[in-house]
Amino acid sequence: MAVDADSSFFQWVVYILQHYWPLFLRGAEVTLIISLTGTIIGFAIGILIGVIRTIPMDQNTHPLKRILFKIINFLLLCYIEVFRGTPMIVQAMVIFYGVAMIWGIHLSTFAAGIFIVSINTGAYMAEIVRGGIISIDKGQFEAAHAIGMTHSQTMSNIVLPQAIRNILPALSNEFVINIKDTSVLNVIGVTELFFQSKSAAGNNYRYFEVFLITCLVYLIMTFTVTRILRYWEKRLDGPSVYTIHGSQTVPEAEIKIVGRE
C-alpha cells in the first residue's frame, strides 16, 4: 500500500505497521530484556543492601565492627539517596559518558542500559527490602534465635522468605516502572522501543501515528507483565487447603480442610 501526505490516519497506521513491525518488535524486545534484567539485578542489590542495613548491632558487638558497619551504612545511604534523588535520564548521561571519560571504558549502549537500570532499581529496592525485613514480626526473629539459629540462618530461612513474599507487589511495580522508564535510555542511544519509534517516525514525519502504536506496545507489555506477576504471587501463597494425615479409624484417610482467613 502506498501512502502520501493526503492518506488518512488509518492508512498511515496500517502502512507503518506493515513496514516497521520488525522495528517495533526489536525495540520492544530490547526494552523487555533491559527492564527484566535490570529489575532482577536491582532486586538482588536491594536484598543485599537491605540485609546489610538490618544487621543488628548491640553493646556486645566489637567496637571496630560497629565502626565498620557505620561506614558501610553511610556509603549505602549515599548510594540510595543519590540514585533516588536524581532522574534516571541524568544518571544515564553521567554514567555512560563518565565511565568512558574517567576509566576509558566504552560500554556498549545495551550493557550501559542494563547497568543503569540495575543500580537505579537497586536504590529503590534497598529501601523496600529493608522495610519488608523490619515489618516482619519481632516474634519470628525471637523464635528463631530461641532454637539457636544465628542471625544469618534466621534471615535466610525465616525472615527473608516472608519479607520477599510481602514485597513482591512492590517488585512487580518496579518492573512495570522500568518497562516505561527504559525509554529514557534513548538519550545514550540504546535501541529500545522509544528509540526505534523515533527513527520510524523521523523517516516518515508521522509522529502521531507512530507514537500511538508505541503507546499501545508499551501498554500491552505492562498489562501482560502485571497479570503474569499477579498470577505468580497468588500461586506462591500455596493452596488454601491442607490435608489431614490419617484418622483414628482409617490411617490412610486424607481429609481436606479449607484454611481459615
Binding site: 516474634g139 523464635a143 530461641a146 532454637i147 539457636g148 494425615h245 484454611g259 482467613e261
Partner: protein, 245 residues
C-alpha cells in the same frame, strides 16, 4: 539433684529502669518451677535473660557451672539447649507445621532431613498434632499453634523448656488442651520453667513456685507453702487478689 541452671545476682536495666534486682535461684534436672507475679514484675524479662533474648546488665548465668555470659560458650549452642515457648506462639509463618519442627534440627543441630522428620513426628504425635503436618500456621487454631510451638521446642531436645505465659493469648476453651500437654511433659520428667497465671496448674504440677514482685524474688518455695501459708505479706496479698476474682 544435678543443677542445670544457676542464676547469681542477676540484674537487668532497661535504660534507667531496673527491671530485675539481684535475682538468685537455680533449677535442677527434672524440676518444674512456676513463676508467678503481677504484670510488670519482671517475669518475662527473667525468662528472656535465661535464653539470652535479653542481655543481663550484670550477674551470672551458670549452665552446668559454666557462666554463659562469658564468651566461651556460643550463644547459639546454649540457646538450642534452652527451649522457649512464647505467649504469642511465634510459629514460623512461611513454614508448614512439620517444617516448623524440622528447620532448627536441620540448620542448628545439623541432623539429616530424615532424622529430623522422625524426631519431629514423634513430638507432634505427643502433642496431638501429627495429623496437621501440612498445615500452615495461619490455618490452625491458637491452641493447636501453641501445641506445635511446644513440639518445635521439644524437637530440639533441649535440657530445659521455658514457657512465657503459654496460655494467656488463648481463647478460654483452648487453654485446657495446652495445659494437658504441659502436665504430661512435667510428669515425664522434663525440666520446665513456667511463667503462668494458671494457679491450679502451678499448684498441681510445680515442684517449686517462685513469686516475683517489683523485679525481685519475694518467695521461692513449694506450692503448699506458697499457696496455703506464704511467709511473705506481699505473696499473700497477690494471691488473695488473684484467687478472689
Amino acid at each position: 539433684m544435678e543443677t542445670i541452671i544457676e542464676i547469681r545476682h542477676l540484674q537487668k536495666f532497661f535504660g534507667k529502669n531496673e527491671v530485675l534486682k539481684d535475682i538468685n535461684f537455680s533449677v535442677s534436672r527434672g524440676e518444674v518451677v512456676c513463676i508467678i507475679g503481677a504484670s510488670g514484675s519482671g517475669k518475662s524479662t527473667l525468662l528472656r535473660c535465661l535464653n539470652l533474648l535479653e542481655l543481663p546488665t550484670s550477674g551470672e548465668i551458670l549452665y552446668h557451672g559454666q557462666n554463659i555470659l562469658e564468651q566461651n560458650i556460643s550463644n547459639a549452642v546454649y540457646r538450642a539447649k534452652m527451649g522457649m515457648v512464647f505467649q504469642q506462639f511465634n510459629l514460623f509463618n512461611n513454614l508448614s507445621v512439620l517444617e516448623n519442627c524440622t528447620v532448627g534440627q536441620i540448620k542448628v543441630l545439623k541432623r539429616s532431613a530424615e532424622e529430623s522428620r522422625k524426631t519431629a513426628m514423634e513430638y507432634l504425635e505427643l502433642v496431638g498434632m501429627a495429623q496437621f503436618i501440612n498445615a500452615r500456621p495461619h490455618q490452625i487454631s491458637g491452641g493447636q499453634k501453641q501445641r506445635v510451638a511446644i513440639a518445635r521446642a521439644l524437637s530440639m531436645e533441649p535440657e530445659a523448656l521455658l514457657f512465657d505465659e503459654p496460655t494467656s493469648a488463648l481463647d478460654p476453651e483452648m487453654v485446657g488442651e495446652v495445659l494437658k500437654v504441659m502436665k504430661n511433659l512435667a510428669r515425664s520428667g522434663l525440666t520446665m520453667l513456667v511463667v503462668t497465671h494458671e494457679m491450679a496448674f502451678a499448684r498441681d504440677v510445680a515442684h517449686r513456685v517462685v513469686f516475683m514482685d517489683g523485679g525481685v524474688i519475694v518467695e521461692d518455695d513449694t506450692p503448699d507453702v506458697i499457696f496455703d501459708h506464704p511467709n511473705n505479706e506481699r505473696t499473700r496479698v497477690f494471691l488473695k487478689r488473684i484467687l478472689d476474682d
